[in-house]
Amino acid sequence: MSTTVIELTDIRKTYRTGDVEVHAVNGVSLSIKPGEFVAIMGSSGSGKSTLMNMLGCLDQPTSGSYLLDGVNVAKLGRAELSRLRNQKLGFVFQSFNLLARTTACENVELPLFYTNPHVPLRERRQRAIKALEKVGLGARLYNHPNQLSGGQQQRVAIARALVNEPELVLADEPTGNLDTRTSIEVMGLFQALNDAGITVVMVTHELDIAAYCQRIIVMRDGRIIRDDFNKARIFASDQRAALDASEQHASLS
């Protein structure tokens, strides 16, 4: 076991559209230790998603090196990367990417479908249901994505990221479409995962969501401009209680 889960050295990602070069990620060096809970913030277009995709082994950097658990990802083939994504990583996409015309349950089962050794159908189903219950969708197991609200779809995507018990969860704006209460639930979920030792890296626009994390990284124009320990960390359980209290107060008055 290496001491860092993620070790980035001068990572760059350059997109070329015609003659214009966009340096979406422009020299990022970063190390994240096991068990950290990191928020990445930054304005739109600052390269957060691009960075996350590379962290999630979905995209290869133009240059720089990425060691995941001490393994140089650039050296891995497509099949090995797939296995890595399947077994070590859970990715929550900004745009959900659920399979249409497929039930929530089957969507969540999908990673297990591709797991080696084979996970039997019954177990896949059980684990998917458990993951969906965790995100509060126990009553929507067999709905198709187009029968779910944006927030519910987001939670299906989270359940899918969790179902294979990854070591590292990467979430690109997992609360972007959620109301306050559900946001608290989801952050509580991530905090619980984190308490269980899972490393979590998430992108968010909102400071009060970032406040749940231990460490806050701010990006601008493809670079990291701040990387701080979160001194005023908040906890989902407290927030939930506060919210309950204020709602009770609102209904009484």
Binding site: N53, G56, L58, D59, R78, A79, S82, R83, R85, N86, Q87, F91, F93, S95, N97, L98, L99, A100, R101, L110, P111, F113, Y114, T115, N116, P117, H118, R160, N164
Partner: protein
């Protein structure tokens, strides 16, 4: 190792289910795509079936000649009429026939034949028909039973009697439903007494109706009707199938000797071996069938291109789905397999319907009288095999395209 194998096998089965579901979702499109294969397989299977039917029909016709026959033609038969009586030595003589009968032991029966076309008149009706001068063994040689009456005898041959055995068609034309036995038919103004009627035999080689004929003793035909001295051909029946070629050689040798042919001179007669006819006809219909089947097989290629086209469309349409699957850990070979199974399913499905249609065509064609097309298991297996290969071959490129997608590009695809 074993575990990896079983788990990838299990996953192949599950992947097949994904593929089936995708096909079911686009029912109409799947059917239209498979149409090329359906038509291709149906035509291959039905052409092979019809070919077999044709072959059998021809075989039936060849064997309707009788069995184990050698037919000896006089080479001068084309000029026979003109040469009649002119003493040309190359003719087949009745003495030759006698000699064959005597000396070639495997010859069971021999019938010299003289044919002519003439008007037959009876009961005021007129009918142009084939008059065949034959020997009494003719019916046995041709395996041709009588419907009623009897065949003429050797004695009637020797006396060149004016007796006739009438074909069923000719009888119908001349006498209608009446019994022709004992009636008189006039051929070239000569009265013949009808002593027998043949059973119906149907069309012979070339489609000529064998039932339209009057059989009379060859002596009568030669002496009283044509004035010819020589038979045009002699039909020999050999006692067994295995003796055919030996008999052919013996007859040839005998005739060459009798005709005083020196080694360097060619035969002045032709011998046709019934088995050879059958074999030749067989090989011709065979090659025709395979040729046509092959041409029909080309349409399988066209069907394959149709499958490839739709698979490419399908891969493009489902780019985001593919991206998602790869992102959550599908291996390239899982995606490859998923789309390969889809195309193979399409083509095998097309193959199955095509085979069913082929059976249908074959069944419809068997309504034609005396025609018995039959679908061979071989052609079904080949058709399925080719559909499978087409599915793999034309599905591979789209499937590989899907498997090689970059997940992020695929997920961004609009």
């Amino acid at each position: 190792m074993l575990q990896a194998l079983t788990s990838s096998l299990l996953r192949a089965g599950l992947t097949a289910m994904i593929a089936f579901r995708a096909l079911r979702r686009n029912k109409m499109r799947s059917i239209l795509t498979a149409l090329g294969i359906i038509i291709g397989v149906a035509s291959v299977v039905s052409i092979m079936a019809l070919g077999r039917g044709t072959q059998r029909r021809i075989q039936d016709q060849v064997s309707s000649l009788g069995s184990n026959l050698l037919i000896v033609f006089s080479k001068s038969r084309r000029t026979n009429a003109a040469a009649a009586g002119s003493g040309v030595s190359s003719n087949l003589t009745l003495q030759d026939v006698e000699a064959i009968r005597r000396e070639v032991r495997s010859v069971q029966a021999a019938s010299p034949e003289v044919t002519l076309t003439a008007q037959a008149v009876a009961a005021g009706r007129n009918w142009s028909t084939t008059i065949a001068g034959e020997s009494p063994s003719y019916l046995r040689i041709r395996d041709w039973p009588l419907a009623r009456g009897s065949m003429f005898t050797e004695r009637e041959v020797r006396s060149a009697a004016r007796v006739a055995v009438i074909g069923s068609r000719t009888a119908r034309e001349l006498f209608g439903p009446l019994n022709p036995l004992g009636q008189t038919v006039r051929i070239k103004n000569m009265p013949f007494t009808i002593i027998g009627q043949l059973k119906s035999k149907g069309a012979g080689i070339g489609g000529a109706n064998q039932d339209d004929r009057i059989v009379i003793p060859y002596t009568t035909a030669m002496r009283r009707l044509t004035g010819e001295k020589y038979p045009r051909l002699v039909t020999l029946q050999i006692s067994s199938d295995g003796l055919m070629s030996a008999a052919q050689e013996q007859v040839t040798a005998l005739l060459r000797q009798r005709h005083h042919l020196t080694a360097e001179r060619k035969n002045d007669f032709d011998i046709i071996n019934q088995k050879e006819i059958a074999d030749t006809v067989n090989s011709i219909t065979n090659s025709l069938t395979y040729l046509l089947g092959g041409i029909a097989g080309l349409s399988l290629l066209v069907g394959g291109i149709g499958i490839m086209n739709i698979m490419l469309v399908s891969v493009t349409e489902r780019t985001r789905e593919i991206g998602t699957r790869i992102a959550v850990g599908a291996q390239p070979r899982d995606i490859l397999l998923q789309f390969l199974i889809e195309s193979i399913t399409l083509s095998l499905f097309g193959g199955a319907i095509g085979v069913a249609l082929g059976y249908g065509v074959s069944a419809a064609a068997s309504m034609i009288p005396n025609f018995h097309p039959s679908v061979s298991i071989g052609s079904v297996v080949v058709a399925f095999g080719i559909s499978f290969i087409v599915g793999v071959f034309f599905g591979f490129y789209p499937a590989r395209k899907a498997a090689n997608m970059n997940p992020i590009t695929a997920l961004r695809f609009e």
